[in-house]
Subunit: 244 residues, 2 copies
Amino acid sequence: MPAHPVRFVLVATSHPGNIGASARAMKTMAIEELTLVAPLAFPSAEATSLASGADELLARARVVDSVSAAVADCGLVLGTTSRERAKFRWTSLSARAAAERAASELATAPVAVLFGPERTGLSNEELELCHALVHIPANPEYGSLNLAQAVQVIAYELFLARDGASLPAREIALASAGELERLYVHLAAVLEEVDFADRQGGEHLERRLKRIIARAELDAGEVSILRGFLTAVQGKRRRAGALD
Amino acid sequence: MPAHPVRFVLVATSHPGNIGASARAMKTMAIEELTLVAPLAFPSAEATSLASGADELLARARVVDSVSAAVADCGLVLGTTSRERAKFRWTSLSARAAAERAASELATAPVAVLFGPERTGLSNEELELCHALVHIPANPEYGSLNLAQAVQVIAYELFLARDGASLPAREIALASAGELERLYVHLAAVLEEVDFADRQGGEHLERRLKRIIARAELDAGEVSILRGFLTAVQGKRRRAGALD
């Protein structure tokens, strides 16, 4: 983990519900520092209710009366804006690029991300405290994300940039190449025994079947199951042959 | 744009507000097809109010009584799950990888993404209709995204995968290399005229200054402004010199 935290700064938020939902969104992505600049109403029961499990993050929120006070100890300061408000001669970063920048800056100082009031967004004076503007790529005909949803997307990108996007670990090892190889040999034998072929010959179909098996990413137990099935097919044919 | 749409399928959603907020989140990312499987309450005033501008998407929502009916005409079907519920021997994709898969599948058929009920998530029977599970990487200690926020993150990744993540176009062309070069020559002349040097000599500082200018990504007008400033410095020195 990096040495310094990310701080989300909500500026002059009108709806307490958005503060609560933002706290929850932050916590899902392991961002723990919330600063509120002149919120219209805080603390509030509605915020606490929507925080749903992130209430201690909300309880620790710092309330200040200016953006300068909120970011005084930060290095990189980013200001979120909607795409339509892209500002003349400001550096503009996508959410993803901004998260990558932020993650690398955390080695040296806290990083702040500012979110403006619901209706108006950040003012020019507030943007002048930012090194770069961040926008979330969105539908050009309807780009208006709710505040807490913008918080969710930025937090998600920061989480990926900081902690990497790892998949859940595989619960059971894949079958070994040798086990698969023996399954394929067994399969080929059965295909021949059952005279399985189309116009292009049995080999074509055999290759298709092997590809299906490969895609299924079998574990050893599953290979045994299939081989058991093949053995069963052989046993039945042999018994049937004996009766011929 | 791809030939086929993405369909979001909300299964047995309890809170009408979540349906409305999901519709808004979808529309911000240009996903227009919403199917509701057995919603607890729909239509509802609360859903419409939270859809905020995405109400026509909500009005067009299809309501069906089973997941099978919702996905009958789809190719790839993806089921969202929280990481903790990763299922034995199901293919598991991160939101980003799933979006990339989905974008490529849209060439051939509609793609469905299923979102389960708020408390319980998708059942095993519902997951069995899916080709792969999708999880949103999240805080291992608190991974519980609100339904509409999970919808927002998946929709965002789909938007990026389909439409690419483009930055707003630069409003004004960068200054040409020639203009910058002339600025640097002018700057060097002024640095010498003003005897600007530190212990490492004037060249070291000149390089630092050039690097600052490079990072600022000047346009032609800004180069003129800086050169005007340099000319002003020279004029003042010359006048001052004349008075010596």
